[in-house]
Each structure stands twice: as structure tokens, then as C-alpha cells.
Amino acid sequence: MTALVDLFEYGLDSPICLTWELTYACNLSCTHCLSSSGRRDPRELSTAEAKAVIDELEAMQVFYVNIGGGEPTVRPDFWELLDYATAHHVGVKFSTNGVRITPENARRLATNDYVDVQISLDGATAEVNDAVRGPGSYDTAMRAMANLADAGMKNFKLSVVCTRHNIPQLDEFKAIADRYGAQLRLTRLRPSGRGADVWDELHPRPEQQRELYDWLVAHGEGVLTGDSFFHLSAFGDPLPGLNLCGAGRVVCLIDPVGDVYACPFAIHDEFLAGNVRGEGGFRDVWRESALFRRLREPQQGGACTSCQFFDTCKGGCMAAKFFTGLPLDGPDPECVQGYGESLLTNRGAIPKASGDHSHQKVRVSIGRPPVSLCEESPLAGAR
């Protein structure tokens, strides 16, 4: 009998789920932000353009979208787009740091069966969390979860990016999730966006990978992972989930300006398939782009093919390899058999992410008051 994963390898008419970063604007500046968010991009899709994308997703029967950012809720039309999507049979799961999850908004969310909320928290204590996500972010997330629980929202998600500092807190995260009637979701730290700058000091140590794997096996399907730890399957039995790199096959990313990438962790020209503003819209990008067609061909294992665990780990995560400067047909940088580590010491140049929307921390004074753009450039406002 053909396994489902083999059917998926050749791609689907429409993605199973799709990540849509609505804005690069964010109130936080997390050190590991995979989309290097902070400032809004002026080319961001308008409300009308975003609704046109939703219309396409409805026609393509995309069951739900994972909305993120940036912080999606800071877009003034966020709630309008949320209602528009769910009214058009496109379910929404959105990731937030909780800044706009007021009691009122929580009540609104709790009444919509087609909405799921994911609160990001990267430490079970303020100390561990705020070191990565910024001062006050722990309190914001906890307040948001309390508001959701009080509003009667059931089974929303507590989403944690696993780092070497919070892997010792897995049980505490589970306790927090249980306290608010939420489900815990653990995902992998990727060296994408600003994550590339902190990956070396934040990614789990080799012995912690084992600890994480054992913890995931013990908790089974009760803890979600977004299939992000399939590289750990080389420890033994595969983890629940597809255990397949879904990039361009079952998932993809639409970024705030409408660019379509193979996956949320691969914002780089190398993985850019097209733009939803193009003539054929999102549908043509998904179905016709040369990049996605290539990703749907059987992948070569390269150096990994001779490894006995290749069938379960499939060489790991494409984005993790790319942004650590490793070849795509070799082992994952966090290969649990240790084949990635030796390569990291001799790695080549590390590709930079294509866009950086980080808040500018350093403002350079140029000795005269700032002038407006129109004074600086005769073309300002003309495009």
C-alpha cells in the first residue's frame, strides 16, 4: 500500500496549510525572529489585495491559513481580514505575542469556531522568555492566555520555540498550557532571519536533542510540533506527523508584500517562487512555479543516502542547512548522528536573508535635523 507521505512528495493541487505573514511590523524585536520583523514594509498587501488572496484560497479549498508576521494583530484591518477569511471558509490559526488579546478581543475569538490562536512564549519563566523576546513579553503572553481562558476559548495553542535555555522547562510549559486549557506546541529554532545571528548560542545542545526527543515520544500526539522535529526521528521511532519536508509540496509562505516562498523558514531569493500580485495570482505560483515543481521531484539524499536513518529523517530541514551554509543534499546541522556538526566547523559563507525589517536600534546623527524624503529625493512619492 502506498504511504500517504509518498503521495504528498509529488505535491498537492493546493497546499494543506499555508503560512501568511500579514505584516513585518511588530511591537517586539525577538532575537531569533525568522522573518527579521520590526518595521512595516510600505509595499505590504492592501486590504483589498489581501481579500483577493483569501478569495483565491477559498476557490483552491485551502482549509486554513497560519497567519503570522511580524505581529499580525497590529495591522489595522486584522480583525476585518480574520472575519473575511472565516466567512469564506478559510480557517485561521494566527500567531501572536498577545499584545492585542484584550478581554474583549478574546471574547470575540472564542465565538468563532473557525479561529485558533497561538500565543508565543519562549520561556516558562520571565527570565528565560524575556531574554529572547524582550522585556515585558512574558507578562503580555500570560495576560493574553488568561483573557482567552476567561473568555471560554478552548484548546488554543501555547507555542514555544525550543532553545537550549528552555528545554529544561518542558514540563513547566506543559503545566502552563494545562492551567489555561491550552495545548502545547513545540517547534524547532531555525537559523532563519535574525535567528541566524543567535542560532549558534541558542540551538539545543546535542544531549538536549535526545531529551527533547524522549519528551516528545512520551507525550505523543498530545503535544503539537508542526512536524518540525522530523530530524530527531533518527534517534529511533519516527515522531507523530508526516516526517517530510513539506516545502513547496504541502506548505508554503506568503510574505507581507505577496512574495511566495517554499516555506516560512526560507525567506531568501533562492526559495522565492513568485508573487501573488502576478497575473495568475497565488494559484499559478503554487501550481506552475519552476521552483515548486523542482521541490516536488524525488529529492536526492546526497551524502545522507548511505545512512541507515535516511528513510526517517530524510536529511532534515532544507532551511536549517541553507542558513548555516551547509549543502542542501547533505546532513542537517543538528543531525542527531553527529554528521552535521563536523561540517559546521568547515562551513562556507552563510547566505543572508533577503529582507531585513528589524527595528533600527542605532540612530546615527548626521549633524543636521532630519529632512523629509521629498526634500532628499526628487522622485519621492512618484512610485
Binding site: 502506498t2 500517504l4 498537492l12 493541487d13 494543506i16 479549498q61 482549509f63 471558509h89 480557517g91 469556531d113
Partner: protein, 92 residues
């Protein structure tokens, strides 16, 4: 939920079905679970459930041969257990 081939069934109202080259994907907006149908024949059966007096009749309406019935019954049982199907009172 116990599946009975000789009763009337329907897709759960919160389930969405999307045909794919290999068969179909099913998504349940309530349980947020994804499921799949591994061939187009099974998809025809599932699509015929709502208008057939029994699941067995739906198989026949979808052109299933008697040899296919046990296989389809197994698949429908799994779907019913996963809350993808609900039992329905047949129309009078």
C-alpha cells in the same frame, strides 16, 4: 462511534473535502484533524452518502463492485471513528 453499513450517513457538517490527484483530503474544522481518502472511488462513495438511504447504497451508487465493499466499509469505519461522518436519519 460504531459504523453500520446499513444505516444512513453523511459527512460531519464541519468537514470540508478537497479532491486531490491521489484521492481527497478531508479537514474537520471542529477537531482540526486532517484525514485523507486514498482513491477517487472512495471519494465518490463519500460524496454519495448524503443522498443514499444507506452507506451500502452509496457504494452501489458510486459504482463500487461487491469486491470493493469490505475495503470501503473499513475506510468509512475509520472516518466515522474520527468523527468525520455522522449518522443521519434517512429521508422519509
Amino acid at each position: 462511534m460504531v459504523f453500520d453499513l446499513d444505516r444512513a450517513w453523511d459527512l460531519h457538517p464541519q468537514v470540508s473535502v478537497r479532491p486531490e490527484p491521489f484521492g481527497a483530503l478531508l479537514y474537520h474544522f471542529g477537531t482540526r484533524k486532517l484525514s485523507f481518502l486514498k482513491d477517487r472511488g472512495l471519494l465518490s462513495v463519500v460524496q454519495a452518502l448524503a443522498s443514499a438511504p444507506t452507506a451500502r447504497a452509496a457504494c452501489a451508487a458510486a459504482g463500487a463492485s461487491p469486491d470493493d465493499i469490505p475495503r470501503y466499509a473499513r475506510a468509512l469505519t475509520v472516518l466515522a471513528r474520527g468523527d468525520m461522518l455522522t449518522e443521519r436519519r434517512p429521508a422519509e
